[in-house]
């Protein structure tokens, strides 16, 4: 017999995944708006963020109710607390998507600074981290979550590389400062998305294994 509580936990997880889907979609559309110079796509991201915000409030309500009414313990408690934190990270990922979309709208008004090479790689990495951190949640897979933590270093490395490159362009030609600066912001936003995915992965490890790996050196995770 499936208990009422199990059903509620299942629903919480489903809603969280739904929200994750919205956040992932937001990020993907926002970076594509930059790469494909697609104004309509950027505007859609701004429009769709409302749904993410609504989901955040709904998930918070569910968490509050489960804690108040069911007094969850052990793995259930860890899941519910993780869900609450992941909820915040997803909402922040949604915000970062909006930031990227707004940059996209401003970048569109200028000629392209340079061919996009590293930026698509970085966005693929960051999107993959978000996706896998949520896959780790679904499958209770601590190893997959750990692989997300490792990938964050690659994202940071790409950010440094892109910053250096854009700086060179700006120093050479002051006419590109405005769009290049927007690209710096986009890069920073993508890096933050990787950080949020890292938080989610850390929460998954806590949920599955009961180990708190936040702020630990890589070899101790």
């Amino acid at each position: 017999m499936e208990r009422h509580f199990e059903h509620d936990l299942g629903e919480l997880k489903e809603r969280l995944l739904w929200m994750a889907g919205l956040a992932e979609r937001g990020v993907h559309q926002a970076v594509q708006a930059v790469f494909q110079k697609d104004e309509a796509l950027a505007k859609r991201v701004l429009e769709e963020e409302k749904a993410i915000n609504e989901m955040q409030i709904e998930i918070d309500d569910r968490v509050m109710q489960l804690v108040a009414l069911q007094q969850p313990m052990a793995v259930d408690l860890r899941f519910i607390l993780s869900a609450s934190r992941i909820n915040n990270d997803l909402e922040r990922i949604g915000d970062q998507a909006v930031n990227i979309a707004q940059s996209a709208l401003r970048i569109l008004r200028h000629p392209q600074v340079k061919p996009y090479v590293d930026l698509p790689r970085m966005s693929e990495l960051a999107e993959g981290m978000v996706r896998d951190s949520l896959n780790a949640l679904v499958h209770r897979d601590a190893d997959l979550a750990k692989s997300v933590l490792i990938r964050d270093d690659e994202v940071d490395h790409l950010r440094d590389q892109i910053f250096r490159e854009l700086l060179t362009y700006m120093m050479e030609n002051s006419a590109v400062v405005f769009p290049a600066f927007e690209l710096v912001l986009v890069t920073k936003n993508l890096e933050r998305i990787g950080d949020h995915a890292t938080n989610i992965a850390e929460d998954v490890i806590y949920m599955v294994a009961g180990r708190d790996v936040r702020h630990l050196a890589a070899d101790r995770r």
């Binding site: 052990a74 259930d76 009961g210």
Partner: protein, 291 residues
């Protein structure tokens, strides 16, 4: 030992800060970055009970299969587990109440402050290790006489009235009954009767108090009073409580032991056991997936 405790370390640090504050009148602000001291449980003052390879038989049936557990002084230890797992038997072994069951037999060793309880005079043992049961069981006597009973048979010297008042105060019952001490104990409510039983147990100043589901017949308000009482008693008494109510174990105890089918499955500090238990059977039980 004490100088090694984290609390002590932090306080010497803040003393050092205070000294250097003299030259700087901005009172209270630490000169150096430091974390606030962690509130901590009273330092472990040793083991009250050392239980090794404890087996209990009722007739031919073995209900405890060799329990090894140490119970620390001045903390609340909770024993949890599904019905029939042997938690009450374990509790009752600690003051040899199991002997009151016909054909019951104990094997193994239970040391109370290093002394084997099997070699102790049982009356003396039960004076040191008091017990409170699931259903309040006051004597058919006045409130006063219930508490005074144990004092009288132990030949109490000094003021009986003062001793009764002291026990009733420790059991958080004094204010409710001080004007009706000579009324029958049966006139009290269930929760008051239970606290009276605790006062009766405390009257002879036991070192250990065993409680066998003391709140299962009580409403939430009275339950909260008894849990608060356990907290108040900790500095002077070692408490072992058997409970079906997991939230109660989580709220009221410092360590929790999980028993299953006569075996000790897991014994941990309570916050650890209820957030990240080590054994999958503990996890399944406390999340309500069996038992």
């Amino acid at each position: 030992m004490a100088s090694l405790s984290p609390v002590r370390t932090v306080s010497t640090e803040s003393n050092r800060n205070n000294v250097s504050v003299k030259s700087n009148p901005s009172v209270g602000t630490p000169q150096r970055f430091s974390l606030p001291p962690k509130s901590s449980v009273a330092a472990d003052s040793g083991q009250r009970f050392k239980i090794s390879a404890l087996k209990v038989f009722y007739g031919p049936k073995e209900v405890l299969h060799g329990i090894n557990i140490n119970i620390s002084s001045n903390v609340v230890t909770a024993i949890i587990g599904p019905s029939g797992c042997g938690k009450s038997t374990l509790l009752r072994s600690l003051n040899r109440m199991t002997e009151t069951v016909r054909r019951a037999r104990m094997e193994g060793e239970v040391l109370l402050d290093g002394e084997n309880i099997m070699n102790m005079d049982v009356v003396r043992l039960r004076r040191r290790v008091g017990m409170v049961f699931q259903r309040p069981n006051p004597f058919p006597k006045s409130i006063f006489d219930n508490v005074a009973y144990g004092l009288r048979i132990n030949g109490h010297k000094g003021s009986l009235a003062a001793a009764v008042e002291h026990s009733l105060r420790r059991a958080a019952l004094w204010d409710e009954v001080k004007d009706q001490l000579h009324k029958s104990a049966y006139a009290l409510s269930g929760g008051q009767q239970q606290r009276l039983c605790i006062a009766r147990a405390l009257a002879v100043d036991p070192e250990v108090l065993l409680l066998d589901e003391p709140c299962s017949a009580l409403d939430p308000v009275t339950t909260a009073k008894i849990e608060e009482l356990l907290f108040q008693l900790k500095p002077s008494c070692t408490i072992v409580i058997v409970t079906h109510n997991m939230q109660q174990a989580a709220r009221a105890s410092d360590s929790t032991a999980f028993l299953l089918e006569g075996r000790l499955i897991e014994y941990q500090p309570t916050p650890k056991l209820f957030t990240t238990p080590s054994d999958p059977r503990t996890e399944a039980y406390i999340t309500g997936r069996f038992g």
